[in-house]
Symmetry: C2
Subunit: 365 residues, 2 copies
């Protein structure tokens, strides 16, 4: 018998948003009638310039990518006014989370995060056998974080802002206050996967890697999966002082980004028009979701992201609602497994949102 | 100060083949004059049907892939006559090596491999703090493996056949003999990354996943990077009994293959014409490399792969040869870091091989 690591007994796996194909197969709904608002994918689609880059590079699939990722790092360095050696690229910012977890965690260590936050923090920590500590609130509250920090001395502290799957954000002032109160022996991860949306909504919530680069134990994470519209290409990044980046690099496998993903990210990083267009659509549509909640008598969390979280009263059940919507071909995320009677909906195109509202009204009628 | 895991002190990083862009930048050679025969990329390029699939899917970059990888597993199950639940997909077979290493290794365990073999076995083992045990020979010799196995009781035994970077192979009979002599508490990895070339050369060296699926502790690894021409897309797979696959799945991050890589691999798995064409080119060109070695008075290892290894006598220095070739725009792999006075050359197109022979003749003139 093979003796597997004991951490495997305790592993949680990530629950992905259900793919459109599955709904087609299971419920016999035709693909064009399925609306997927479950994975925070960019509703505008793929940027035309990225599409062009992918087509141009389609005959380079046999060639390994430039493992130094010189051009992509150069573009990010320019964008954020940092140096190339402050940057590490991951297969999604997820993979940077994995590098961080593996670089510092073991069975005797703990990680600290808010009550409801990105699922991969817990998954990677459990892969290392580490203990999960959560604050009481899903918001990142200074007093709760510092109390838990003092009590558990975690090796990683996660600040997900804007937060996923809740959509709330923590102001820059508050984030820096938390960072300063936490000892330099813990890595503080400021996960800005949805930062482009927060920055567009309110400057006080806009955090740039440069705002926190002075702290040797802090790393900023960003991704091309959301505002940049590259969810399927798996490219994210971490930005920190070079000494921290050097350590994380030791956990990076070679060629962790495919040749086409690299080409797509390089192109996307230059395409500010697409970002602006994504943000504009989002801003013009999210108000409809807020109004809909108010009109139907349930709460929502004020969103700094490309999704909104509906919080239901006791007489509405998120699992029933999510399951019923699914049978109608509307895929959204049930947050019951996060301990919330809530659902998370990606803000879609005008037409997708129409479909959502129509079906949702039927479900709760 | 952050306290990093002590395994980080001992990490080796993978030395990638030098990219063409680097030679262009450093030596001022124009890109069309650079010949890269360093990374065992398919010299035919990308299959036309894969190219078409990539173009068709270029506007799906914003959509996460089907994380169940249903269609790709289905294609592989059909190809190898196994079940979908016997298969795990990795970002290159490298990533499956990572899952295996993380599932069983710790600081008290050892891994066993031949004297000269794929570098990632050691790298992933060191990331887990495990001890590396190597046999005396680069060939996978039964007596050496069993002796080392009995002495060190490794948790993973690597059989790389055909072997990389040497190019030799181990016969099916011999591989099964080794497997049978090793206790079922060790995972035996049969890494067939270059198997398509060995199978075409000599049936006795052809190993199919089904030949070893009866052993609960054995996993077969395959890749789309070589004969299938998808080096840049990072897709590989492991095939084993479902209980072993289930354990490895616990270490798989979600969406570990990009949407376009998945589309490319699905298409490539059906494209037998491309494989045949790759093998034919290879078979028509490799003889020239053998003849060249004989004519110039040095040895080579009989190759079962898409590359050949030249073994030099004392008066020829592999580092000098590799460096001098590089300045002429010919990128090959120096094996000095593997303890061999040798170079590894990917068999290229007729024209690439002409260029190699011309420049090499000058270097040793």
């Amino acid at each position: 018998m093979i003796k597997f690591s004991k951490v495997l007994q305790n592993i949680k796996t990530y629950e992905a948003g259900k793919p459109i194909e599955l709904v087609v197969r299971e419920f016999g709904i035709s693909p064009e009638d399925v609306v997927k608002l479950a994975s925070n994918e960019n509703p505008i689609g793929t940027s035309p310039s990225v599409k062009k880059a992918l087509i141009t590079n389609a005959d380079k699939a046999h060639l390994y990518p430039d493992d130094s990722m010189f051009e992509l790092k150069d573009a990010l360095a320019l964008k954020y006014d940092v140096k190339e050696n402050n940057i590490i690229i991951g297969a999604g910012s997820d993979q940077v989370l994995e590098f961080i977890s593996r670089a510092v965690l073991d069975e005797n260590s703990a990680v600290l995060m808010s009550a409801v936050t990105f699922a991969m923090y817990e998954i990677y920590a459990k892969q290392m056998g580490a203990k999960i500590v959560r604050t009481m609130s899903y918001e990142h509250k200074y007093a709760e974080f510092i109390e838990a920090y003092e009590m558990h001395k975690p090796k990683i502290v996660y600040i997900c802002t804007p937060n996923n799957p809740t959509g709330d954000a923590t102001s820059k002032v508050e984030v820096i206050k938390i960072i300063k109160a936490i000892g330099s022996e813990a890595i503080v991860v400021v996960d800005g996967a949805y930062m482009e949306y927060a920055s567009a909504k309110d400057k006080a919530y806009s955090i740039s890697p440069n705002d926190i680069l002075e702290f040797p134990n802090v790393i900023y994470l960003g991704t091309f999966s959301k505002a940049y519209g590259l969810g399927g290409m798996r490219v994210g990044y971490g930005i920190a002082q070079k000494e921290l980046i050097e350590q994380l690099y030791k956990m990076r496998p070679p060629f962790n980004i495919s040749t086409l993903s690299l080409a797509a990210a390089i192109e996307a990083s230059k395409d500010e028009t697409f970002i602006k267009k994504s943000i504009l659509l989002h801003q013009s549509e999210i108000g409809r979701y807020e109004t809909f909640a108010k009109e139907n008598g349930f709460a929502y969390i004020d969103s700094y992201t490309n999704f909104i979280t509906y919080m239901f009263p006791e007489d509405m059940d998120s699992t029933y609602i999510a399951d019923t919507l699914l049978k109608k071909g509307v895929i959204i995320r049930n947050l019951a497994s996060y301990g919330l009677n809530a659902i998370r909906i990606t803000i879609g195109t005008e037409k997708q949102n129409d479909t959502f509202f129509r079906h949702f009204a039927e479900v709760i009628a």
